[in-house]
């Protein structure tokens, strides 16, 4: 493994075959809520791409050097003759990974938010409450957890995080444009809004089944 082909295959898989929204149904809350407008969808899609690409490798470092079983073994070999009178080679802090990952994500989202407020006021206003809510967007936590489960190395993690973000971007922009076309449709009153969006998500993921089963 390794090399350009491997990264390309991870990227394609993350965007199309195992699309984080349409194959795993993660991150649906912002997916359904923001997709009312195309421009806001593009904005949140980009925010998710950025946050995922940054948080996944940060979480990888934290997991590899602090949380995983035996990750703290470097504490046994401190330089300058320092030594802690404890054997860390069996320490397993991976039960902490949920809470640690979430706090890293929350901090990163805060940074992105500040950045956006400074440089793109209109986008910041149109995203409203949903920008801070990316912090609890399960697609981003999902990205970090899948990275642990699939035992990626650091470059693979970056590629995977970026790919998942692009997958989310593609899905939310597609849903937003479909809803944009439906604005004059005579939809049954009880289905208008989120109900229709849920049904559309199902139909979109049925179309995305085209890619499932591709073995890269």
């Amino acid at each position: 493994m390794g090399g350009f082909e491997d990264y390309l295959s991870i990227f394609t898989k993350a965007v199309f075959i195992e699309n984080i929204v349409l194959a795993y149904f993660l991150g649906l809350c912002s997916f359904l809520a923001i997709s009312k407008s195309i421009d806001a969808s593009v904005g949140i899609g980009m925010a998710v791409v950025v946050v995922l690409t940054i948080t996944a490798p940060i979480n990888w470092f934290i997991y590899e050097f602090l949380l995983a079983k035996g990750a703290l073994v470097w504490l046994n070999h401190l330089p300058y003759g320092l030594s802690l009178s404890y054997d860390f080679s069996n320490t397993d802090l991976s039960f902490l990974k949920l809470i640690v990952f979430i706090s890293v994500i929350a901090a990163m989202v805060q940074l992105v938010e500040m950045f956006m407020e400074r440089f793109s006021q209109s986008l910041y206003n149109s995203l409203g409450i949903f920008l801070p809510l990316i912090a609890v967007n399960c697609s981003i936590l999902g990205g970090s957890l899948f990275m642990v489960e699939r035992e990626y190395d650091v470059t693979q993690t970056i590629v995977y995080g970026f790919g998942s973000g692009v997958g989310f971007f593609l899905a939310i922009v597609a849903l937003a444009s479909v809803r944009y076309r439906l604005r004059y449709s005579n939809i049954p009153p009880r289905l208008r809004g989120v109900g229709m969006a849920m049904l559309l998500t199902g139909l979109l993921s049925m179309a995305f089944m085209a890619f499932s089963g591709i073995d890269l």
């Binding site: 076309r181 049904l199 049925m206 089944m209 085209a210």
Partner: protein, 391 residues
Amino acid sequence: MNFLKKILAESGKLFEEGKPLSFAYPLWEATDTILLSTNSQNKSGPHIRDNMDIKRTMFFVVIALIPCYLFGAYNIGYLHSAAMGVPSSILSDFILGMTYVLPILIVTFIAGAICEITFAVIRKHEINEGFLVSCALIPLTMPPDIPLWQLFMGTCFGIIIGKEIFGGVGTNVFNPALTARAFMYFAFPTKISGEKVWAVGPDGYTGATALSIPANPTEYDTATNLFNQVTQFDFSTLNLFWGLIPGSIGETNKLLILLGGLFLIYCGIASWRIMIASVLGLVFTAGLFNLLADYSTNAMLTITPLQHILIGSFLFGTVFMASEPVTSTHTNKGRWIYGFMIGLLTVIIRSVNPAYPEGVMLAILIMNMFAPLIDYYIVKSNINMRLSRNA
């Protein structure tokens, strides 16, 4: 016609507002407009004011599909007699095939009519002829011995989820016939995919489609050689065109599909841009894969562009489903992109995805999903262009 008019006018009074039968007004209205011409104009729909109203549009599509039905029935009978090894005439083959086609057709129309009428009555809209087209398309995409209850469920899903919940004809996002087929494809895969369902014959008889042969070769060879090794069917390029091969009911004879396509283009119903663009996309991708074939052991990559066009349901899907006016892109530039991507995705799904030997259905559904996006950005770039020109 006067007595008909009188009967309808008399009975019409029973369906007026406040009368006991008023809930069934759409039914009366449909009978009235099918039997007699109306002086009402279209209020909605996918087209501009023209003497091609929505009824005639839909009806012309159904007319274009009839030859495919007739040949499909003959083909079923022909393959059956060939499998039994008995001599037969064109007429007996045709009648045998009809015993398979007619039940499928009847069940589809009953299911479609039930859904359409129920929605028309509850939502108080007119009965639209759109369901005739969807119901005429669904049987043509089916294998001959599809279980009828599955067909019934699939049609209901396609008409309700694919069309009615969006508000009926002209406002749907996904092609209803393809939604129905995709639903059946994923819900009951054993009866609508694989090698056993595409032709009928004695017990234990299998009729593989041309696509499944390079998809599962016993040993690696080029697709043309693999086709020539098949003794059961004639998969030469010429016979792929004439269509005496196993496949869905309507997809095999390419001549009739092309004639239907020309008819639709002549009437201005289907978009020639989409058809040409999707053929271009397919030829481009297939040609590219031909170049890459030396580096791979996937026999699907060696199928030539011409074979790609002729095998499977590519032409059928392009002519009758991809190019329809509602679910495709609505801008001319968008139509080129949309069609090209359908051709490209078809070859990619066929060649790269081992799970599905055929990719037209899913390629069209995916592009249905992205069509509004393509339109949105083309319209937006036009607006920006004009703004900068007139600034």
